[in-house]
Amino acid sequence: MREVVAHIGYLAGGLGTTLELSLLGFAGAVVLGTLLTVMRVGPVLPLRVVGTLYVEVFRNVPLLAFLVLFVFGLPDAGITYSLFTSEAVCLALYFAAYVCEAVRAGINAVPVGQAEAARAIGMTFGQSLALVILPQAFRTMVQPLANIFIGVVLSSSLGAAVGVSELIGRTQWLDLQYDEPVPTFLLATAGYVLVTLTVALLAGRLQKRMAVRR
């Protein structure tokens, strides 16, 4: 028990790595996911095909299988990154598919009349997108995106299975060292619950403030 308490800083560092991984992965997923949405809602057929295929494939790949392929398989083809980078990239690539679905649903939730009205008063495509459609779409996306972020946080734990020293990896190490499963696992649980509850709470508030009555 005392050893575990003495290593609280070490665990906190693990939580820091978890958060770093999650934030990087989520940011990457949002950028890539938005790009995929643009491809999928646009009028260019090959891009639509690629975007759809991407989402279908990545939603059906188990993240761990993809992570293992990335970390242990790709080096054989001369593609090597650090473990941390590999995992952040995997999280971004994997969750981009989910972000794409959320953004697409957000855009589709905007009534067609809104866009038609924007065009009718002579707005260009960019203007109607930036001033009318996206602001409304983002409001309906708060909750799904928060759910995805929580998913990223929980999934970042899979890094422990390929050797990334994040919260779970360090928990496991401490447990092997000092044979104190109860306090180590309790602390790790507390860490994850803290993060997910905070995100859920913030998202709930943000959503309430931004809600559109239709």
Partner: protein, 297 residues
């Protein structure tokens, strides 16, 4: 593929059509270039050599992977059979008028929704054996998956119950049915039908969760891939094959979910006709249920 978005575009005129044609040609070139680049990178490191792929065309190797797939399906099937009723019970608990039951079910659901599956798995792998209980490897994988999945499914069921028109329950009460009868005879059957597509897509994420058998040395598909990879020294080929198998199996399940959803939408129901989004239909689908709850898969 999906048609161009109706919100964003009008029908294109002649100039826009020319631009679209140019963009199409350009994007084909870029995509082909990217594929060629990838193949070149693989070929340069000898990863496309025939000898590296040959094992995967031979029956003993294929059988080895198929055995893994069978165990994956066995673990996922067992977990689903336990988690589905458990999730429904948890949802009933959360909706129950008894405070203690509500708090207990709510605490369970919130805890296992906000903790990664891998942590639960390590508790079963390293924590519980020290307290003197050991499980066979199969259950070391299945029990954690059941715990996390049933918490997610509970939210799906609850969303279904809450999304149902309150008039249904009121009508039941008006007929003189008791609380329990209204729940079992009127609300639950309809709620379950509402969430069937979401439940099926949750099965995909459950199947993905079983890859954690890799961690507890349960010889499921991904683990068999690892063994095969170290045996033939062809990790890339082995993991790639395994990944493709997962995509095929899960895509089939997703297709099933979509077919069920389409069938559900065809029914002339006020609720599902409004179709908020994929997953839980109905305008009152609560925010708690995203179209699919994400586990740590």
């Amino acid at each position: 593929m999906t048609a161009p978005n109706r919100v964003l575009f009008d029908a294109p005129g002649p100039r826009a059509r020319r631009r679209i044609r140019a963009a199409t040609a350009l994007s084909v070139l870029v995509i082909a270039g990217l594929i060629a680049l990838g193949l070149h990178q693989f070929a340069r490191h000898g990863q496309l050599d025939r000898t590296r792929w040959q094992p995967f065309g031979q029956w003993p190797y294929q059988r080895f992977l198929l055995q893994g797939l069978v165990r994956t399906l066995k673990a996922a099937g067992t977990a689903a059979l336990i988690a589905l009723p458990a999730g429904a019970l948890l949802a009933l608990g959360r909706l129950s008028p008894h405070r203690v039951l509500r708090l207990a079910a709510g605490g369970f659901v919130e805890l296992f929704r906000s903790v990664p599956l891998l942590l639960v798995l390590y508790v079963f792998l390293m924590g519980i054996p020290r307290a003197g209980y050991t499980f066979p490897v199969f259950w070391e994988l299945v029990i954690p998956v059941v715990l996390c999945t049933s918490a997610l499914l509970a939210e799906v069921f609850r969303a279904g119950v809450l999304a149902l028109d309150p008039g249904q329950a009121e009508a039941g009460h008006a007929l003189g049915l008791g609380r329990r009868q209204v729940m079992w005879l009127v609300v639950l059957p309809q709620a379950v039908r509402l969430v069937v597509p979401t439940l099926v897509s949750q099965l995909v994420s459950l199947l993905k969760d079983t890859t954690l058998g890799y961690v507890v040395s349960y010889p499921e598909l991904l683990n068999q891939g690892k063994v095969l990879g170290s045996y033939t020294h062809d990790f890339l080929q082995s993991y790639l094959t395994v990944t493709v198998v997962y995509v095929v199996v899960n895509a089939a399940l997703s297709q099933l979910a979509e077919a069920l959803e389409r069938r559900g939408r065809r029914r002339p129901r006020a609720d599902s006709a409004a179709g908020a989004g994929p997953g839980v239909p109905g305008p009152r689908a609560p925010k708690a249920a995203g179209s699919e709850a994400l586990g740590a898969s």
